[in-house]
Symmetry: C2
Subunit: 461 residues, 2 copies
């Protein structure tokens, strides 16, 4: 862990005179901002600031740049790859007070939010409109954080990831310029796609302060279902055939027997302890019935044992809350442990092979390894539980992850479907994309010549 440093007193004074109480070097608050949900050592920033506007962010960036101090944007700290750890110290920009929904354009199916608005907050805010925002990582992350990490979740198979759902961004650049990356029109061919360049840039190219996102009409009919199988292979085959048939499922999630057991205990549910698929269907009444019947047929042919339906809103909510909490449920399998979540994503034709080889491999790990995943996208997670005081366990888990990533790359897959590079995947990035990583590093240098924007992440200079 990095040692707390004395920040230049002038810098602190400048931040305090800009923000008053909303700039602090208090130990407790700094420590709080030095941890995320990853397995990396804590690394606290030297100061934490709480801006409320894009202009305040600009002023903070200008102060930090003048003093050549790193800046780390922070949402709610639910990164799984160490994105917000202040590995070189510096000032943490906690954006939680930038939590205003600035506009909801019901007729245009979009909303403009400040970066600190969380996904649940936005959905609560627009509940009366008959619209919803679909992207749902497990945690109630901020939309800024989700944009910065190109997050996705259970709805991506139908609605895409943050890549497809951000229309425009307001960004403060390292030199203090404020830019807007696009207009609010749904499509545009106007110049280079700066929006997409910042989506997934993990705070390393600038600070995202406002986001215009797409919304969707809540469909006439939404129906969820849970189906247990006699094998993980039965699950993956069902998913593959469903996708290939072009059935527009809204969600399609795998949870293996180990993870189902964790969920049952954590969320007080009573699902059969077996490899299980969670489905959701959106559409017209008749369309949903047709989709569901087609999937049920496919499932039956692959050893699907029973469909439990959830059509009432509260039952659906309960089901998806259980799924969203699955990661936290899995951590309880070994109290006191920390989780290392893998995140590969492969072309769907290779999914069954990738999952089954991997499950054979992890049978040797020192405790059960739950499997969870957005299998409709070819993306799945294993949760390795490690004792944080046993470096050997960490090394063991890493060696399993190494084999998994190599397996996925050999199948034309990616080392990260949705968690991002952060600290954890830098080594794999080059193996995955070769010389393209040098181009990324050149872009980093262009946007951040002094290496102050979340330094040490994605492509460290």
């Amino acid at each position: 862990m990095n040692q707390p440093r004395e920040l230049n007193a002038t810098l602190v004074n400048e931040l305090k005179s800009l923000l008053g109480d909303r700039a602090t070097v208090a130990r407790g608050i700094r420590d709080q901002h030095g941890k995320d949900e990853s397995y990396f050592p804590y690394a606290a920033p030297d100061a934490v600031v709480f801006p409320q506007t894009t202009e305040e962010v600009r002023d903070i960036v200008n102060i930090c740049r003048r003093h050549q101090v790193p800046m780390i944007p922070y949402g709610v700290g639910t990164s799984l790859e160490g994105h917000i750890l202040a590995v070189n110290g510096g000032v943490c920009l906690d954006l939680s007070q930038m939590n205003q929904v600035l506009a909801v354009h019901e007729a245009d199916l979009d909303a403009v939010v400040q970066a600190g608005v969380t996904r649940k907050q936005l959905n609560e805010h627009i509940r009366h409109t008959g619209l919803f925002f679909p992207i749902d990582p497990g945690a109630d992350a901020t939309i800024g954080g989700m944009t910065a990490t190109r997050a996705s979740g259970t709805n991506a198979v139908r609605y895409g990831t943050m890549r497809e759902n951000v229309i425009s961004l307001t960004v403060v650049l390292a030199d203090g310029r404020i830019i807007k990356t696009a207009r609010r029109a749904k499509k545009s061919a106007a110049g280079y796609d700066l929006t997409r360049l910042f989506v997934g840039s993990e705070g390393t190219l600038g600070v995202i302060t406002e986001i215009t996102v797409k919304l969707y009409a809540v469909q006439e009919a939404m129906s969820a279902a849970v189906c247990a199988f006699d094998s993980v292979e039965g699950c993956t085959r069902t998913v593959i055939q469903t996708i290939q048939a072009g059935i527009p499922i809204a969600r399609c999630e795998i949870v293996d027997a180990t993870a189902i057991d964790c969920i049952n205990k954590y969320s007080k549910t009573g699902y059969r302890v077996a490899p299980t698929l969670f489905f959701e269907f959106h559409g017209t009444r008749a369309g949903v019935v047709e989709q569901a019947e087609a999937v049920q047929e496919i499932a039956k042919e692959n050893g699907g044992m029973d469909f439990q339906w959830a059509t009432k809103a509260e039952d659906r909510t309960k089901l998806w809350e259980a799924r969203h909490n699955a990661y936290f449920a899995c951590l309880q399998l070994r109290p006191g442990s920390r989780g290392i979540s893998t995140d590969v994503c492969v072309p769907i034709s290779r999914l069954a092979e990738c999952v089954s080889e991997t499950m054979k491999d992890v049978a040797d790990y020192l405790c059960p390894v739950p499997l969870l995943g957005h299998v409709g996208d070819g993306n799945f997670h294993l949760v390795f539980l490690v004792d944080p005081n046993e470096p050997k366990e960490l090394e063991l888990a890493k060696s399993f992850n190494k084999r998994l990533v190599q397996r996925a790359l050999a199948m034309e897959g990616t080392c990260t479907g949705e968690h991002g590079i952060g600290l954890g995947k830098q080594g794999w990035l080059r193996e995955e994309l070769g010389e393209a990583v040098d181009v990324m590093r050149d872009i980093k240098r262009l946007f951040d010549p002094d290496n102050l924007m979340n330094p040490g992440k994605v492509v460290p200079l």
Copy 2:
């Protein structure tokens, strides 16, 4: 028009020794490659080369860079904004011999193609698979050209544009490096989104040589319909209400009375001469019926007069061919004229207002101005017909377009929904995106320090 120049003899010799007959300075071929579908003066390159592989493109790029000669990638020359005009001379890279479909992964719903494959060629190639590639600009453009201009078309309202449908690219950079921007997995959070940076870069950052695109399952039921209205306002209101209701229409196109008349004459169709919407519905049998009934109801409330159905494949093909040829049909309104197509795109809530103010404005133009558009996206085109020998007509058309773009920008719209910046929209780009354009220029300088990659386009240095 630029004058033909003598290219350095060594350069020509190097190209010929690399490519043999596939490198030429013949006048006729150079002239052919100096025109597109835009209204800009012809500008022929000094040489034309026909590479067949990514490695040949790399060798050409290395030769041209050594001689500091511009390079212009060329597909089939259907740009509407002057993208392929050799305004600084140089070597045209005609990619039409890179026309191999390299792989079709049916199970993964993707295909890998060389840049010179056209959209119709790909769809022909995969016809037996039950899959299709949806992006369809009017012309039978190459997939490389469509990627470079971030093209869309009639299916974008349901399937997105090239932005959403490119998975990965192989690109030859200005320094001769060959990079692959992403793996074949459906989603990834691995580093900066280089794929999207090249989509829409118009040949100014590198030469795109291979593209991995998404494919979609042909749906169980596909049904098209044509509905005439008593006013353009009735059309736009119908579209807006359809989108806002969340009905997943696959296509939704407006054609006004002037354009319908042109289409009838050009395609020998017999549509009622009135403002008209062309629809298509994709889904399950029951789902399509439900969608169509809902839209028919909305249309009726807005003055829709009759639904003509086309459910048989050949009738649908005929209908969409008529629509795709509409631009060329409109050119016949004034034989010998050239078309200037506008391309604004606005948030859908402003569409009706934008269209009706514009139609009032263009009533003063010197001949009827047909209206066409992908109204489900908020994107529409007016075709101004000008006599190429009358500079005053060009100026007049430009002044109408200027008012239209200003109107769209004031409505948070964009100057180009799908045609790109090219030569024609550079002035508007800054008005639309302000200082973000400086960032684009910095990116251009980073990728192309010698200003040799399609110089003078998007953000001229």
